[in-house]
């Protein structure tokens, strides 16, 4: 996993609440057995009509957000199914950071495992960013070490993140590798609890 320390990128607003993972990546695309290539299906039925033509009113189809790498959305982003294909699609499309007032637990976890930073900001802050992102070329800079997001117009949002996911993201650790350094402890647990 690639470490994520600072990131500067174009912001794309998705002004919807309770965006579920069925919308992020519809089920017909869950049949692939690879981890890659899901970006083309991101928000598929919101992005494309029944004939596969892009819907012009959907932000991800707007030319000004073509190179966006920061997604801003409404509360409870990523609710529903546990499918990790959702963060894979978000990432494969080019997003590295998400900003929303709240997230579903499993989705948020899945983001960390893939090196995506899911920032929690207040509803007012998110609204403010959404409005600014309406204008062409609006970028934000994220500094994970300092836990802050800012633009060049004076907006500054401090955010909370637990120490563990922060370290994971900063260092891009392979979590299994980390856990295996505790193998003795796991052996001991199994001995005491008589696991096979």
């Amino acid at each position: 996993m690639e470490p994520l320390r600072t990131h500067k990128g174009l912001v794309c607003p998705l002004n919807r609440t309770n965006v579920d993972t069925d919308q992020i990546i519809p089920k017909q695309f869950l049949k692939r057995i690879e981890r890659s290539g899901f970006g083309q299906f991101l928000f598929y039925h919101w992005r494309f009509d029944d004939n596969g033509n892009p819907r012009p009113d959907f932000p991800l189809n707007d030319a000004k957000y073509k190179d966006a790498s920061i997604l801003v959305a409404g509360e409870n982003f990523g609710c529903g199914s546990s499918r990790e294909h959702a963060p894979w699609a978000v990432q494969d499309f080019g997003f590295k950071v998400i900003i929303a007032p709240s997230y579903a637990d499993i989705f948020k976890n899945n983001c960390v495992k893939n090196g995506i930073l899911a920032i929690q900001a207040s509803e007012e802050q998110v609204q403010a960013i959404m409005e600014k992102a309406e204008s062409e070329g609006y970028t934000l800079t994220v500094n994970l070490e300092e836990q802050v997001v800012y633009d060049h117009e004076g907006l500054e949002v401090k955010f909370d993140i637990a120490p563990y996911p922060k370290q994971m993201l900063l260092n891009g650790w392979d979590e299994i590798g980390v856990t295996l350094t505790y193998e003795e402890k796991i052996n001991h647990y199994e001995l005491v609890h008589q696991q096979p």
Binding site: E84, I106, L180, K185, Y189
Partner: protein
Amino acid sequence: MQTPKTIIQKIWEQHVVQHEQGKPDLLYIDLHLVHEVTSPQAFEGLRMNGRTVRQPNLTFATMDHNVPTRERHIIKDQVSKTQMDTLKHNCQEFGITLADIHHPDNGIVHVIGPELGLTQPGKTIVCGDSHTSTHGAFGALAFGIGTSEVEHVLATQTLWQAPPKTLNVKVNGELGTGVTAKDLILAIIGKYGVQFGTGYVMEYTGTAIRALSMEERMTVCNMSIEAGARAGLITPDETTFEYLRGRRHVPQGEAFEEAVAKWRELATDEGATYDAVVEIEAAEVEPQVTWGTNPGMCIPITANVPSPTEAVKTSKKDEITRALEYMGLEAGQPISSVKIDHVFIGSCTNSRLSDLRKAAEVIRGRKVSHAVTAIVVPGSFSIKLAAEKEGLDVVFKDAGFEWREAGCSMCLAMNDDILSPGDRCASTSNRNFEGRQGNGARTHLVSPEMAAAAAVAGHFVDVRQFTAQEVG
């Protein structure tokens, strides 16, 4: 005296492998359930890093999401077939027991775990599937995980988890006649929203919960995730122990009684406190129907579809407007006036034997409306057999239902059981998200009884009045 603890804290503490200040706990996992959709990349990860499965004996796999429910052996979709074949190869390579598509134990992962007695009180249970919360009905700490975590559990039999906050969902009194566990959980989510459980593990308590059968408890815990909670559980009691007695994977004979004695100690202590509490009066719950595009958008069968003007926040107004548009409904129209063209009885929420029995009771001697296509998909192969032994298949078929093979089927429509744009379905499943049952299709979540009544009437009806009518 020791501080009183909740069952959640007790199970947690029994499973901590490693605890360090400022870090999540490393939690031991007792049971890992695997299915074909969320596992291929995890096995691939193991292979790429030269890792093995630490505890194949604590890992159990099934195929459910993709499986055909008409003719078992004909898998038309080659990509689906590849995914199922991949699971088969992975299970062979890593030594994991698999209930494949032709195996007598096959069924929906959250149906067969309890059926086989793999699900037991006090266990930590995970699966790459958000409805793993179902197993909480037995007093297990069970939650859904992503594919990276699946790989982590395969390799280490553990997970890093921050201790959750606890939420007591207390249901007082008794459910009324014709009101089901499904209506109860929908009403709870309708009242408190799709987010109130986020960050919590829920414990369902109160007299109405105690009165539920195991199958009804599973229906309730199944939908914990629709309230945002990764896990929801119920302290085990006699109902739990009687359900488990004699099942294949539970201890037998004297060892079972010893296990029961241990399981009893899991009960939440008198005086234990929770981080939050919500309370519901069971008597106030009516049969529910969802009208919108998430499970929190539900109303009693006696009510009217809401209007955006009722919402205060702009984001809520927008959400209602969007949902009405997608669902093709008018604000203020009675939900009972909504006509349907499909009925789906199935899914890990409501596909167990008692669900099928109750639905069959409603339709016995009646006919499915000519405007409706109705299917029943049992949750597992063994449920299908048991139902056929009782003649339920005949009741359904006589009424005009299709009687199918087991699987997830139209709950998420990854196989051939898929609706067309604009189709409207009364479904006993758990999610009414846009496109869940097919692109552009409209899903209304209901109980099996309400689904059966709607199949006959061709629109939503109050099952309490419906069953009072003469069969004619």
